[in-house]
Symmetry: C2
Subunit: 376 residues, 2 copies
């Protein structure tokens, strides 16, 4: 099933943590990799050149949002997502499932999900076939199977139904997939917090021999400890030679734990969402730039950071002023920093794997980070 | 009065239109020059590197806004405006007069203007001395005399009072100016629409031998024809060997007319303000990207444009989508284009002056632009 342009090679290991390269038609992805999220076809205020400069390798966009507006057919007509967004690196689209299952009003059946468009009120049905058709039109390098994302908490019956549908739909996705030669279809493991369900789901998906596997239904409110347990119980069921993706994960501490358990790919809106709310990451923890203490602060966000905001002479006092003045540039400068922070986190994790000192890296990072004394 | 680092050399003329270079401590300004406006210390959403890439030479900021927040003393403590904003090129600050006179509630006297801060409600008095003190603290290369900007329309008595105060205040500004060695203080000609008042004001200011002169009280609602008349009647009173600045001008057609009358410097919020409202400039006129006709449009904003948005593969359909989705990147990409459009306008005007074909340039540009058939 792994078509020609896709190959995953493991280049280093440190305990269960891995460093690898996943080849895609738009270039290699060095793992562990954190993917930035451009929900509606743009990473909130950040220019593709700023993303590249910050070290971002992969942009993730949301099938649900783009299908509603501007529509997948339009994007296909304009040459696909890469061309539409001006991003020539690897891309990933989700299946739309997560968003559809989050809607307050929807009708779920074995065939798919019915809902109304929040853009124009039209009745829409999203099925495995339709999700794959849209993702084929969008043209991302990695596409995701349409799954039933079980809400948290869920009783075992509900979770079992989710697994049954997820597996049934995965088969329908494989059958519907029209571009396996240049789009890698990843399967998604569901099963909520139930070990046996997770393992059954993982094994069944692995038997479908997909080019990669994701763990879904995490970062849905279950918290750090349950996430850790779910990942640690699921990873052993996944093949060593395929990339593993923890969907929607997460905070730096979540990512480091998951890398330590053998996860390769991550995505989350946190870097840009937090940046818009004036919260930025430093090696000494998060800080909120709107806090009065930063009004006169002549330091960059993080003196150890190599992002264009920190190296460009933009001080905390300036960013404080921009946030207080509701200047758009505040979100841009803070967003560049947060994206770079996440990229450095995984770049350094990768380096630590090569040097077989991943546990020490994680321990040292967290010791610094969780001390939470961010003012230098 | 023109201190060492400041010199203006005329390098070309075509009719009354001029091409020159104004030397400042932060580098030369090639004229005609359009200055971008960063009211609160940021050009709405645009990174300094994007401004530089678009060819912007000078950033203008507003004394009124920066004095209220974050305060000039703080900016001075952090090394001045250039360092604060991360802009190492030439800068200009206005005097705060225009904003203060635009406030609904203020008390104007011969000493200055009293008003309440819109940030914290504090009672504030802005006088010529205080305006210059603030501008000395901010540290821009060009600073502006504190003038009384007469509203439009105004009767002759009101306009005459404005001129009297403007001249009196100009002398006080000169006396108060503590950094003539690295900040050029420009005088401002007022006088509303009254030819004799304008001429009297100009002559009196010229006798003060300032390093540059501005025409104020234009772009205040008087319209294109009155602006043209005011500029054409004022310019002959100004010395050939000093830069001339038409404040707040304006639309491309206003700028070209004023260049033709001998104006060297311009500023206006239009490029970025229009960009945020989805209106972008093309050689065939303005277009509004939210218009339905652009939903499927695969062209860049302007096929003849060399900005990073047009050359970067961002199509009208993508920008339409971003505006419809309220994505911040829409304003950024459109803003980059509009700033570049204005820079090209004056760069090409300068080239036309060197080739002594300014009138033809202006005529050809307007013939294309005012045809207003922007879809290619």
């Amino acid at each position: 099933m792994t078509a020609a342009p896709f190959s995953f090679s493991l280049e280093g290991q440190s305990g269960a943590a891995r460093a690898g390269v996943f080849q895609t038609p738009h270039g290699p992805i060095q793992t562990p990799c954190f993917m930035v999220v451009g929900t509606q076809g743009a990473v909130r205020g950040l220019h593709p050149s700023q993303l590249r400069e910050a070290g971002a390798q992969v942009v993730l966009t949301n099938t649900y949002h783009l299908a509603l507006r501007p529509g997948a057919a339009l994007i296909a007509k304009l040459g696909g997502l890469h061309s539409f967004m001006g991003w020539d690196g690897p891309m990933l689209t989700d299946s739309g499932g997560f968003q559809v299952f989050s809607l307050p009003k929807k009708k779920i059946g074995d065939d798919g999900v019915q809902f109304r468009s929040e853009v124009d009120g039209d009745a829409i049905e999203l099925t495995p076939e339709r999700s794959i058709e849209i993702q084929n039109q969008l043209g991302a390098d990695i596409i995701m199977a349409f799954d039933e994302c079980t809400p948290f908490p869920a009783d075992e019956t509900l979770a079992a139904t989710g697994v049954r549908r997820t597996l049934d739909w995965a088969k329908r996705c494989i059958k519907a997939h029209a571009r396996p030669e240049d789009q890698a279809l990843f399967g998604i493991v569901q099963g909520s917090t139930y070990t046996k369900l997770r393992q059954r789901c993982a094994r069944a998906l692995v038997s479908m021999d997909l080019p990669g596997y994701a763990i879904g239904g995490v970062s849905v409110g279950e918290g750090h400890e349950l996430m850790r347990r779910i990942v640690s119980e699921t990873v052993p069921e996944l093949p060593l030679e395929k990339p593993r993706y923890a969907m929607g994960v997460g905070l730096p501490e979540d990512i480091l734990v998951a890398v330590g358990l053998g996860i390769d790919l991550f995505d989350c809106v946190i870097p840009t969402r937090f940046a818009r709310a004036a919260t930025v990451f430093t090696v000494h923890g998060k800080i909120r730039l709107t806090n009065r203490r930063y009004r006169h602060d002549a330091y960059p966000i993080d003196t150890s950071c190599d992002c264009s905001t920190c190296r460009g002479g933009f001080r905390r006092a300036y960013l404080h002023h921009l946030f207080k003045s509701n200047e758009m540039l505040a979100s841009v400068l803070a967003g560049i920093h947060n994206v770079r922070f996440y990229q450095r986190l995984v770049e350094e994790a990768r380096q630590a794997v090569f040097e077989d000192r991943y546990d020490a890296y994680q321990r040292d990072f967290l010791a610094n980070y969780q001390r939470n004394t961010a003012t230098p």
